[in-house]
Symmetry: C3
Subunit: 310 residues, 3 copies
Amino acid sequence: MSGPAAGAAPSGVPELYRSFLIAPANRADMLRKFHLRGADLNIMCLEDGTPDSEKVGARTIAADAARHLQEVGCRGRVFIRSNAPGTRWIDDDLASIVAAPVAGVCVPKVATLEQVVWIERRLRHHEAEQGRPPLQLILGIESVAGVVNAVDICTRSTRACAVYFGGEDYTTDLGGRRSREGLEFLYARSLIAMAARLAGIGAIDTATLEIREPELFRADAIAARNLGYHGRVCVHPDQVPIAHEEFGPSAAEIDRSRRLLEAEQASLGSGLAVFEFEGEMTDGPLVKRACNILAVAAEQGRAMGAPPAS
Amino acid sequence: MSGPAAGAAPSGVPELYRSFLIAPANRADMLRKFHLRGADLNIMCLEDGTPDSEKVGARTIAADAARHLQEVGCRGRVFIRSNAPGTRWIDDDLASIVAAPVAGVCVPKVATLEQVVWIERRLRHHEAEQGRPPLQLILGIESVAGVVNAVDICTRSTRACAVYFGGEDYTTDLGGRRSREGLEFLYARSLIAMAARLAGIGAIDTATLEIREPELFRADAIAARNLGYHGRVCVHPDQVPIAHEEFGPSAAEIDRSRRLLEAEQASLGSGLAVFEFEGEMTDGPLVKRACNILAVAAEQGRAMGAPPAS
Amino acid sequence: MSGPAAGAAPSGVPELYRSFLIAPANRADMLRKFHLRGADLNIMCLEDGTPDSEKVGARTIAADAARHLQEVGCRGRVFIRSNAPGTRWIDDDLASIVAAPVAGVCVPKVATLEQVVWIERRLRHHEAEQGRPPLQLILGIESVAGVVNAVDICTRSTRACAVYFGGEDYTTDLGGRRSREGLEFLYARSLIAMAARLAGIGAIDTATLEIREPELFRADAIAARNLGYHGRVCVHPDQVPIAHEEFGPSAAEIDRSRRLLEAEQASLGSGLAVFEFEGEMTDGPLVKRACNILAVAAEQGRAMGAPPAS
């Protein structure tokens, strides 16, 4: 390995989780274009994205593509998604990912704390053997057991920087069906975002498979941000810009937050911590939310290389 | 006891949970018509269905009706529902049910793991005394405590083949009210289906009491199947065929699943595990869901005595 | 201290939680009008309602106002809300509240069982020092950790008479956003009501900040009562009467409950415990719910000083 991993953020720059764009690890053509898509996270998928017959060869394709992205410069972080715990592929996947010039590894279908412990042990082993510093780790929760254990999985992992909700696999494991509204997995979707918050890690929402319906993706993104998610799985490059629009504070939100904080200052000047702002009785939590919006806007500007919001 | 219990499935035939039709155990007229209703599960209710003054006599009525159903031939399994744990009736109920020619016993209002342990111990005791093989067991979760303990109740029972959600009793225990949309018990309804899945047992959704509104029952059934339920409580015979329509894969679902698997084969032939199918980016979980739909369709055909789906 | 605390219910009279009206503890003008608002619970807020620079002085303002309300007669109970556990103010807040003529103390942002234990220990300490009998205690759950720990917090508190859900602080802590429908906190809102029910304590729903939209408050109140809440936070006096309308059984509900119980008597007279009532198949849980509605109506009449519902 030489040079920083593709897409690794310079020290001190906050990391973004708005878009988690997946492509099959056996598709060199798609992987080598990741830098053109602009996603925050670029995921080369050895799991469901790659046919069983090509899983071994795809490890090399992914590593080569990561090297290419490192050379051409790719703003977003590059991850390789291994096969699931318990499969015959995972340990060799982890070894190959540790050897690749990537920011991290993504492990799907994590269902128990024991699996987290095993994954982290194997990563340490491969990193020690190869003399490589620790990779970042993103865990996928996509089964009923994973949801029931979500708080443990997230808060007791020693390495995870984010978790994603795999709603399609979850629904298949549950034996249910997806509706467009998604009430059937609101419980799971809520709990995973809560678990990520408790752990202080990124929360990435499930995908919208209907790739010809950008407004469905947008509605799902709005709901996900309401639930506390920081971004979404994207299964098509066209979904990436929508994710960035919906998970970044909008100009309107930034503007409203600034006005709210001005109103708070005026109110505090009169000795009042509670005030009516645009029809809402406003105090502590709404003031804090406005501060958070401005902080995220500044962070995202910094991470994107733009001047900070003034 | 002579002959197999009424409605017991021949060995190797999968068991269905689409319709759980309840009638009061003191109503011989209704019980003796169960075989005409076509439900998968026929429940003779000693609990809320029977007035206190008739609970003792109803045990004999139920046993007689079970014998009648055995004689006339009843496709669906016959269960007797006992009174709740902690009542003065339950242990004698269990003894009488063990003596009756039924497939199983249903115990309502199970709130704690301790109650499950007690129920299973008493069943073993009565079965040993009477020299009868083990009855099937269906547990009812219909209180706040039951919901909070649902994962334990389902996964640590040594005998339960299914669990049902008693949404009306749950709402009464909670001190809430039912709306038509049912958002107020989405948490409970979600968690019970998840607990059943973890335990690998059947999940039976709550009832729709509005017996003059078949389309409300249907909408509730669709939502329940999305949530992972295998069937619903029916409080009127007219609800049974709707349950069978909604909990069996429809012809359209079977047809779509076949087409999806064909598309997958074509895609794999080109070395691609991910493909667009009818507007959706499709891979592992959707392929597995299509396989599951065809497997359930074949099982239901087998259980119904029809030729297997080819 | 002399005389009973402001708003303490005479022994044997049930306590109401329909309206939890908050005013800043540094606003003597607002606090001294609490008796004109008619709320069941009157909360003088030392926390977010009071600017940091006035927190110390506001303790005296609140105590003076409580004395005034005691003198003029205030039907509703008076509480002072302290600052949150872990802040530099809380212990002196508790000491000052124990010294004030109030019914109880409200502690916001309770996140763990350890905090409950600490709060109750400090209250016992201050009560012993001042020779005062135990105050009532209302706990606020308004963080992700608090929700995850809600069952423990509610069921293992030795003193809490109620819990409230602080949905705005919860949303800020989660890093989410509020929509008008509120699906994003349905998980939290459901679990807190369930935890209160398990503990046998009052459940108070979050606020509606849109103080110019009474019908939004009403819709939120209806949803909250469905979920098992007994009342709501009110951030404006105009919200109090709406809360009382929606959390008291309505005349129509009382009337329907009486008719249902008459129908049940007629049905039992014919030996039937299950009967159709106004289109719904009706038995145990609905009968019990009707009884509960009449009992609550009678209790509320008693607590309000009206003759009991006959």
